[in-house]
Symmetry: C2
Subunit: 336 residues, 2 copies
């Protein structure tokens, strides 16, 4: 069924059908009805490709994320889709995995679908030297690029993020003030936001002149979904003689793994060990006691991102960077 079929059946020209389809004012109501009836009768949907060949917007936003099964990313994607849909935009999701080359390919691929903008979800898309980010610069000449929880300073690139540095700084400060200074810091990602968190932690430790805190910083290289492996990882660190009475992590999963470690060893939480997660995911209340965690206001972030995006697409001047503070959600695994 094409616009030609419809025009023939309705006894009008394709231009008129096109006008009806696009809600043009310049159609006599009776003509409009005649056309609409045919359209409804045959359940006709215009071909998006032929449509896309024209110049204008297809009202579609490309969303790229590394892994849609990651709890945090999945939620982010979910909120973005909802928000975009509420504003009349469709979204097109691609999961790129963590390989940089593949990421770049996907970016071009999604661009070729004539999206109005591309949202990069998570900070895995930002590298640490100019070269790595060239591909973003290239694409930004064509459509606005929106970064969720990452930051990159470049024309036509807009960042919306949680201040992971400051929030982690604050969280660490709170733990230190509760009397715990030997804090194990576990992280699983060296992405932009992963390192921000790490620096926030380090700076808080430095602020309080805690000696040798660097030795308690450990990078976990495995799959964070395998909680028992995380527990073993913590056990191995403990076995090496390092003692700690607090654990802070870059992700809730690592914290849950830490709790499992404590339970296996009969260490009481929070009396003997304080644990704090990050992301405030649904995992926080799966365990006992429930996990204190940092909420990075994901829903606020996604909302703001879409608002900024809509503004940019409407040609308004919008903030290049929107930063929110996270907040600590106190539950049962910490003393404060």
């Amino acid at each position: 069924m094409t616009i030609y079929d419809i025009s023939k059946k309705a006894g009008v020209s394709i231009a008129t059908v096109s006008r009806v389809l696009n809600g043009s004012e310049n159609v006599r109501p009776s003509t409009r009805k005649k056309v609409m009836d045919v359209i409804d009768k045959y359940d006709y949907t215009p071909n998006a490709f032929a449509r896309g060949m024209g110049l204008h917007s297809l009202k579609t936003i490309g969303i790229l994320c590394a892994d849609s099964s990651d709890l945090f990313l999945a939620k982010a994607v979910y909120f973005l889709e909802q928000e975009l849909q509420a504003n009349g935009y469709e979204s097109l999701l691609c999961c790129t995995g963590y390989n940089p080359d593949i990421k770049k390919n996907y970016l071009n691929l999604i661009l070729s679908k004539k999206v109005d903008s591309i949202i990069l979800v998570g900070s895995h898309f930002i590298g640490f030297n100019e070269d790595e980010n060239q591909y973003i610069k290239d694409v930004s000449t064509q459509v606005p690029i929106m970064l969720l929880n990452a930051s990159f300073d470049h024309p036509n690139v807009y960042s919306t993020l949680c201040d992971d540095y400051g929030t982690m700084f604050e969280a660490a400060t709170e733990m230190i003030q509760s009397g715990i200074t030997d804090i194990l810091y576990l992280y699983d990602s060296k992405s932009y936001s992963g390192l921000k968190k790490l620096h926030g932690f380090c700076d808080a430790m430095k602020e309080y002149n805690i000696p040798g805190f660097e030795k308690l910083i450990h990078f976990y290289d495995g799959n964070i979904e395998h909680l028992n492996e995380v527990a073993d990882f913590v056990a191995r660190i403990a076995t090496k003689g390092t003692s700690f009475h607090g654990i802070m992590t870059s992700d809730d999963s690592l914290a849950i793994g830490s709790i499992k470690y404590a339970q296996k060893k009969g260490i009481r939480i929070p009396e003997e060990l304080s644990v704090m997660g990050y992301n405030n995911s649904m995992l926080t209340n799966c365990c006992t006691p429930e996990l204190t965690s940092v909420d990075n206001r994901l829903e606020t972030l996604t909302h703001q991102l879409v608002q900024t995006l809509l503004g940019v697409l409407a040609g308004e001047e919008m903030p290049k960077k929107s930063i929110f503070s996270g907040k600590i959600i106190k539950r049962g695994t910490t003393l404060f």
Copy 2:
């Protein structure tokens, strides 16, 4: 940058550029190189829409799921994307929510993008009367429809699923044989697979002539991510005087909520109460003791689905229905 620009700069016709682009054999290597150099130099990507206007496949599969932040669905989508990508297909994801009308609209929308097939993830897309499924029949005339964890008998519709009925029957049988007959059954979805599980449970109870088991079947209407509310829900049931020594659920979240209930009440698991989840998600080892759950072999299902799909697209005769058995993963919340 269009194919015309490239052809001009390379000093060939657009047909030759097109051939190079599409990997045709009939191009002299030197010509190919000449064209490729120009393409690379200008970082040219062909316009997918103009391309899509042709008749042939765009090597794109549409994936529809109700909610991409649901643990089970997110994993399914993830596996599907990986599998499709490995076979040279792109995927286009839409999250429809649970509203039937919106689902239908999305189906048409995704179809208009000239996808080669549509995968419906989860059984929420199948209704229980003919009318509700008319929209699937309609679309199935245009492209093959693949169902993941749902079943619908219709030409050009292929189902790949876990035998939730049989698996739940088996699981319930196992619990009964471990000596527990007063089993609380919690479920949160009345979808195709949700009801299959329920029936499997009921039939096992009937098989063993357990009287009054129906009174212990409860539908949970809230958000299953809110584990504490699930716990309260179970507590309310217990307060009403119904006693039970086993809990089986249609989803791990409900089981975790049940464990929270037990912990709050000081009920020991599994000594005083056996709990069994479903889906074998990452939640199963967040809690203590770890949750016995049913693995529905999601990765196997997605793999099989994509294999079937590839066969169908290649014009081969493929099974209309592929059914796998789930398996019980025994952990610490049950006696057996």
